[in-house]
Symmetry: D2
Subunit: 156 residues, 4 copies
């Protein structure tokens, strides 16, 4: 069953497996738009409780959106990957009500590490932040024959 999945289907399933256990991302209302091998897109709306007194979104929440999208991309090859370090540059403020979309791209991957760039844009396609993530993996699969059913059933 697992072996019959092509790379795109496996990437989607990895995203599902990861997100199932990520209550922090769910609490922020982050939605996965797409996961393909080495890539991911996710979005989040800036809700009233996410801003400070100036109606500007908290930087930690923009980071969390980017970080979640990075995690989806670096786990898309069905190898458990951890964040070793991240870097974020803020270019413009995100305001209350903004709809943010994060797009993660894999720059390259070696046997045990990978490098990812994530852009976060608002509804006007203006870049809010640029994020850079470094992943580490130890050769352990995310989805196995043992836990496959858990995610497939959810798929219905």
């Amino acid at each position: 069953m697992l072996d019959s999945l092509d790379k795109d289907a496996l990437a989607r399933l990895c995203g599902k497996a990861l997100f199932n256990h990520d209550s922090a991302s769910a609490a922020l209302g982050i939605n996965i738009a797409e996961v393909t091998p080495g890539h991911a897109t996710a979005s989040m709306e800036v809700r009233p409780e996410m801003v400070n007194g100036l109606d500007i979104c908290h930087g930690g929440l923009i980071f969390t959106l980017a970080d979640t999208t990075f995690a989806l991309a670096c786990n898309s090859h069905n190898m458990v990957a951890y964040a070793m370090g991240c870097h974020i540059e803020y270019l413009r403020p995100a305001l209350k009500g903004d709809h943010l979309t994060a797009r993660a791209t894999e720059m390259d991957r070696t046997r045990n590490t990978g490098s990812y760039v994530v852009s976060v844009a608002n509804q006007d396609d203006k870049i809010i932040a640029v994020f850079h993530g470094r992943s580490s993996n130890r050769g352990q699969p995310l989805i196995t024959h043992a836990n496959l059913n858990e995610f497939m059933e959810d798929n219905d």
Copy 2:
């Protein structure tokens, strides 16, 4: 009234002013332990909803604790300061129930920018993450004669 405050009292008041408007930090249960000029200490407990399926704290939340502590330190001189960019390195996982303490130190500050290092340690004094923040300010005070009363009243 504002002029009669010494630098330490002003730093504490700046922390209070900043935190008053930071509902995201409050929602995570972040507590300010201390704010002095150029320095800040804050703490957070890793609650069940902050972890993934492996009981490991979401990196975005560790970032948010560090980021909040950085904001307290770079706003402690009563000049509104924004985060321009941040960098975080994860050294060890934070687990459910861990009590995390972030300590921000100002490396140096020029007329319109500053550089801060934040360490995040667990209850065993092991470093979980090291964070680096770059701030920008545009010469605008955080607390003025006009808004001073708002924070002083809260002080009672």
Copy 3:
């Protein structure tokens, strides 16, 4: 004369102006391959004196190649831009004799800052390093009517 140049010609001229004064890059044998608005490509060969006892290129020199390419890209709009901060991730070692190519891409630019991603690849198109640069500009042109002739003459 200056006004008659299109954006691509101006970008090339900016690259020339910047490189004319960059003796550090010249000493490393860095060559500009191309400068277009917001983009630049440059290359460098890993010479014997650039490596340590293990024949691995010094990380500072890979950084310098990426940094130079970033500078070409962020100055390509004929506005003097400075590096505020940079981040580099090393993915693979560069070896003696390797031919490295750095490609800088502008992620976005606001009125006074910009964000750039630079990839550094070897002759086998394997990514050696990923670099992220943040620029600052203060609205000052790089090439003016006064200094234009200096670079045009060199052009012959």
Copy 4:
């Protein structure tokens, strides 16, 4: 012989071993001031060929000074350590003739990785740049009984 060295003597010897093979640092005139376990101090003068047309030191060379000092600190435990990634923030320009001193401090170290902060100051004790380095080690000693004599002889 190797076993009779205390940690400080071993750290100094590691610095010597590393520097012996670092022709790039030597070419820049970088001097080691001190290496102790987890710490290092090194200095460099900004020479005429290190500056651009505005007499400002090339950022890549400030990075290289910081990177060399980081390498000395992370290799001071007699375990070969590699740079995985680095981050630098520039706070002030370094000018021709400035005498720069870089000080590296180990934030913490796990079994296979470490985190280091390096400050770079000028002769007036103003911070020029703040650098953050992440190291990786694979459990291989830098100095062994086999190569010890090479460095001890140089010591005379």
